[in-house]
């Protein structure tokens, strides 16, 4: 588990749109209202309601929810592209909401860069100048920023297309430009706002793998907004699942799938292939007698899917080994129980 200090620390964050929005979080009676009732009573819409979470250094933090759940508003609040109504946001311990314009600009220029659903590229500029745009804004001299931009153009696999215009690129290529633009400023955190939802499924998969690769190479902290559960499970170290502006569950993919907090989440994850998400750590039981010494060894983070393969091959149980010590075993019944969605019989020690 990631124990690094938080990059973003969000507490009791509210964003309410509408007239006299700031009274809503203050008044507990109003704050307790449902969306429809709130709208009727005050004409306001609460896009983000009382949200708190930490984003830890180096992790991929996914905010997931259906459209209208407030996730895009939430990510914009982090760098105050949308001004929050109340609550607090700290970045590396520094209060974001009390920053003055210059400090905030500094944050946006160097510490957090964003990738957008509709790319947000400048249509009148070539690929290379789009990638260099963030550096241009920082005041990096032309030659230097072009050189650095060229590096990132290569990194996202667009070499040879430096002088094309965005409209001459496919959607996937355009988003690579958007990604390169964000990477070029070397930010501490990358913010993704549904970056791949406008892309074709195949290209989307490529791009997701690109993100996984980049994260693997650089270990950069990422906040990733998506409405696609598969994408969330694939990329996220932790997932915050939002509904009507609230976080209904925050946890690892395994926790979300394995232990849905309520019916909404359960319904949401019902069709997820559980064996792909759940790990043997959840599925295992304490070893009995000889089981601790025989059978193939698996790491505790191996998926159930992997364990099934090992168990089928060996014909018996598999050991779960962590730091050279056997912490438990999984057998047919344990694994099938996970796949069938039955609650694990007992927690591992």
């Amino acid at each position: 588990m990631n124990t690094e200090p938080p990059v973003f620390s969000v507490r009791e964050l509210w964003k309410v749109f509408g007239p006299k929005a700031d009274r809503v979080p203050k008044d507990p009676a109003l704050a307790a209202l449902g969306p429809a009732e709130l709208r009727r009573r005050t004409g306001c819409t609460a896009a983000v309601r009382d949200v708190s979470f930490d984003v830890r250094k180096g992790e991929v933090f996914v905010v997931m929810g259906l459209s209208g759940s407030g996730k895009s508003t939430l990510v914009r609040c982090l760098t105050r592209l949308i001004e929050p109504t109340s609550g607090s946001i700290a970045m590396d311990g520094e209060d974001v909401l009390s920053m003055d314009t210059a400090r905030l600009r500094e944050l946006r220029r160097h510490r957090a860069a964003m990738v957008f659903q509709h790319f947000g590229l400048l249509p009148h500029r070539s690929v290379i100048d789009n990638v260099a745009y963030g550096l241009e804004i920082q005041g990096v001299p032309r030659a230097e920023r072009r050189e650095r931009a060229a590096e990132f153009v290569t990194k996202v696999g667009l070499e040879g297309m430096e002088h094309r215009r965005p409209e001459q690129l496919s959607g996937g290529q355009q988003q690579r430009v958007g990604l390169a633009r964000a990477l070029a400023v070397d930010p501490e955190v990358l913010l993704f706002d549904e970056p791949f939802s406008a892309l074709d499924p195949l290209i989307r998969r490529d791009m997701q793998e690109e993100v996984v690769r980049l994260h693997g190479e650089e270990g950069r902290t990422m906040v990733f907004i998506t409405h696609d559960l598969g994408e969330a499970l694939k990329l996220g170290d932790r997932i915050a699942l939002m509904r009507d502006g609230r976080i209904v569950q925050l946890g690892t993919p395994e926790e979300i799938v394995g232990a849905p907090a309520d019916d909404y989440v359960r319904d949401f994850v019902r069709d997820v292939p559980r064996e792909q998400v759940m790990t043997v750590r959840t599925a295992m039981r304490p070893a009995e007698a000889a089981e601790a010494d025989s059978g193939p060894a698996l790491g505790p983070d191996a998926t159930v899917h992997e364990a099934i393969e090992a168990v089928v091959r060996s014909g018996g149980t598999a050991r779960v080994v962590e730091n050279g010590r056997c912490v438990g075993v999984v057998g047919h019944a344990d694994l099938l129980g996970v796949v069938a969605g039955l609650a694990p019989r007992k927690e591992a020690a």
Binding site: A113, G120, I137, G178
Partner: protein
């Protein structure tokens, strides 16, 4: 396409609007029916009350204000203080000087480059920004200007245009910038721009002349005031329409407000900006001729002087260069607009260097071979042959044509059977019923707000004491609009169904749209005699092209899927036209009506020059006699009439003028 938008700046909506016909839902339909009933009820009630309380007759004198006193005083004050008051010495005087100096500078440069240099420069610039075809057109156009013996006047007009267009574009861009960035400025500026859009060019002349006197400064300033609004409007539109996603991306990268404006918002609006430049140029060019009345000189002056000696041929020889300049400038700026962002970004410095070097080389060669001014031997005199053709035409068409009768007979019948009854009818109506009529019409077509504006505008005419002549003018406008729409929509539908006809029509429409109206005044009088009929004819000639264009575009833009499905159901061509195309092109047709009205009104003052009388004559009179009171009041009445007609014909929920 942009020529069609030259005079009003809203023609460009035609395509897009027609492309998205409003899909009315059932509840709105019900609402609309409900509203019609409501309006009818209110109108009936008002009719009843009016009859009981107000009685009949024309606008009551006690509700009118006589402005001739104060306006006369203002005029006297300006004349008395023009050479002494600091406002004139330190403000207007400097403006005037700056204008004279810059026009002179440009003019001298043009003359120094010589005809070969200017023609080469035009060709090369057109080639760089627009491609090879516009370049050839440009070269040919300048050559024709020389051939017609109009080189020097063309250069004079070009110099004036260059200064006026630069000033309009700068001024317009600044205003547009303010309106594009600030909602408050936008709200304040929009009604002003809307109003200026319906102002006939002539109406600008009088106040400007009063302050600056006759001459180039007044002409340039009138042109700037006339040509800046479309630039302002389009700049604001472009800035406001900037892709929100791109703007957000710029903000997310920490761009300052200035950076966002310069690197994102402005470049994103570049198409609108170029369209604005295009419109400004077209408006300035049409004004350049009208401004000859106040001493603009150049081509306009040649047209105007030819008009004085009743020489159609000479007027045409000076009018053709105006048309050519318009066509070239339009094509080049339009092509430049389309080229923007298309094709890979490439280094263009070398091309420009070649162009510049070529121009300089040609200019220097021209200079040392002593061929700066267009050789006299190379001119063609078209005046005599044109006059013969016109004489023949008017002699044979004027009267005594078997069966159909001559044009003079048509004019007489048109006057007696259409213009007279409409005018007399309008003037017979009790004044308040006219207001009521306006309110009901505006309400049915537009919204409560447009109805209110329309009624206020109409009432203002009464207050100005111009009720009777305004109704006379209105009758002419209505007749002209009716003829324009009948002919224009029929032609437009035909052109939409036959691409060949459209291709044939295009140059004709271009010519009629850009030809200075002074050129065809004499033939119009020779055909229709003096009076209101020729005024209507001149208006129809002027307004027809835009109506044809908008109709064609609207019909073309009808969703091909719908057309295909109706064809698949076995609809005949006529059924298709009637049941599918015309209903779906409704927004475009409404726009055509609106444009027709605005354009016809723009020619009302010109109509005053051929016997149209009424408000148009009053403005001409005011200009000719330096009579501010008469001219300004009549001009204001025309503006009110324009506002009223514009609002009455402006469809609800459609920002027809805001594109």
């Amino acid at each position: 396409m942009s020529i069609s938008t030259a005079t009003t700046g809203s023609g460009s909506t035609a395509g897009t609007e027609a492309g998205a016909p409003p899909l009315r839902t059932r509840p709105r339909d019900a609402l609309a029916r409900h509203r019609t009933a409501l309006v009818a009820g209110a109108a009936l009630l008002a009719l009843l009350l009016g009859t009981l309380l107000l009685g009949g007759g024309t606008w009551p004198a006690r509700l009118a204000v006589d402005l001739s006193g104060p306006l006369g005083h203002a005029s006297d004050w300006i004349i008395d203080n023009r050479d002494s008051h600091p406002l004139f010495l330190y403000f207007f005087g400097h403006i005037s000087n700056a204008v004279v100096l810059s026009v002179r500078a440009v003019y001298l440069v043009l003359l120094a480059a010589g005809w070969a240099g200017v023609t080469t420069a035009a060709g090369l610039v057109a080639w760089r920004v627009a491609g090879i075809r516009p370049a050839l057109t440009a070269v040919a156009a300048f050559a024709v200007c020389g051939l017609l013996g109009m080189w020097v006047p063309t250069m004079q007009t070009l110099a004036l245009m260059a200064v006026a267009v630069t000033a309009s574009v700068l001024l317009g861009a600044l205003l547009g910038l303010a309106a594009g960035l600030s909602d408050r400025v936008h709200r304040a500026l929009r009604p002003v721009l809307d109003t200026m859009q319906v102002l006939p060019a002539f109406a600008y002349l009088l106040p400007v002349v009063l302050v600056f006197g006759i001459g180039v400064p007044a002409a340039v300033l009138a042109t700037v005031v006339y040509a800046a609004p479309p630039m302002a409007r389009l700049t604001a539109l472009g800035l406001r329409g900037a892709d929100a996603g791109v703007m957000e991306a710029a903000a997310s990268l920490g761009a300052t407000g200035r950076q966002r404006l310069l690197t994102a918002r402005l470049p994103l609006a570049r198409k609108e900006l170029l369209l604005g430049v295009n419109q400004s140029i077209m408006m300035a060019l049409s004004m350049a001729v009208i401004a000859s009345v106040i001493g603009a000189g150049g081509l306009g002056d040649r047209v105007y002087q030819a008009l004085a000696s009743v020489d159609v041929g000479a007027a045409l020889a000076a009018g053709v260069p105006v048309v050519l300049l318009a066509v070239v400038l339009d094509r080049v700026t339009a092509a430049a607009g389309e080229r923007i962002g298309a094709g890979p970004s490439r280094r263009t410095g070398r091309g420009w260097a070649v162009a510049a070097a070529g121009t300089v080389a040609v200019a220097v060669v021209g200079r040392y071979t002593g061929r700066l001014s267009w050789p006299d031997a190379w001119t063609v005199d078209i005046a005599a042959s044109v006059n013969r053709v016109v004489d023949w035409m008017t002699a044979h068409l004027y009267s005594g044509v078997p069966v159909v009768g001559g044009t003079a007979d048509w004019a007489a019948r048109f006057t007696t059977w259409i213009l007279d009854p409409v005018r007399d009818g309008l003037q017979w109506l009790p004044w308040w019923t006219v207001l009521l009529l306006v309110a009901v019409l505006a309400q049915l077509i537009g919204t409560w707000r447009t109805a209110l504006t329309a009624v206020l505008a109409m009432a203002a005419i009464g207050v100005l004491g111009k009720w009777e002549p305004a109704l006379d003018t209105l009758s002419q406008v209505l007749a002209a609009v009716a003829v324009t729409l009948l002919a224009g929509v029929a032609t437009g539908v035909a052109a939409a169904r036959s691409p060949r006809l459209e291709r044939l029509l295009r140059p004709v429409l271009d010519v009629f749209q850009t030809m200075p109206q002074f050129v065809y005044l004499i033939p119009v009088v020779a055909l229709f005699g003096v009076g209101r009929a020729p005024a209507v004819a001149a208006a129809v000639v002027y307004a027809l092209p835009a109506v044809v264009r908008i109709t064609t575009q609207g019909m073309r833009a009808v969703d091909p899927v719908v057309m295909e499905s109706s064809r698949s159901l076995g609809a005949t061509g006529w059924q298709q036209l009637r049941q599918v195309q015309l209903p779906l092109a409704r927004p475009a047709l409404l726009l055509a009506v609106n444009q027709g009205v605005v354009l016809v009104l723009a020619v009302v003052i010109i109509g005053g020059l051929v016997g149209g009388g009424a408000l148009g004559y009053d403005v001409v009179f005011g200009l000719a006699q330096g009579d501010l009171a008469t001219g300004l009041v009549a001009g204001a009445a025309i503006v009110c009439l324009g506002l009223m007609l514009d609002r009455v014909t402006q469809p609800a929920g459609k920002e027809t003028r805001d594109a």
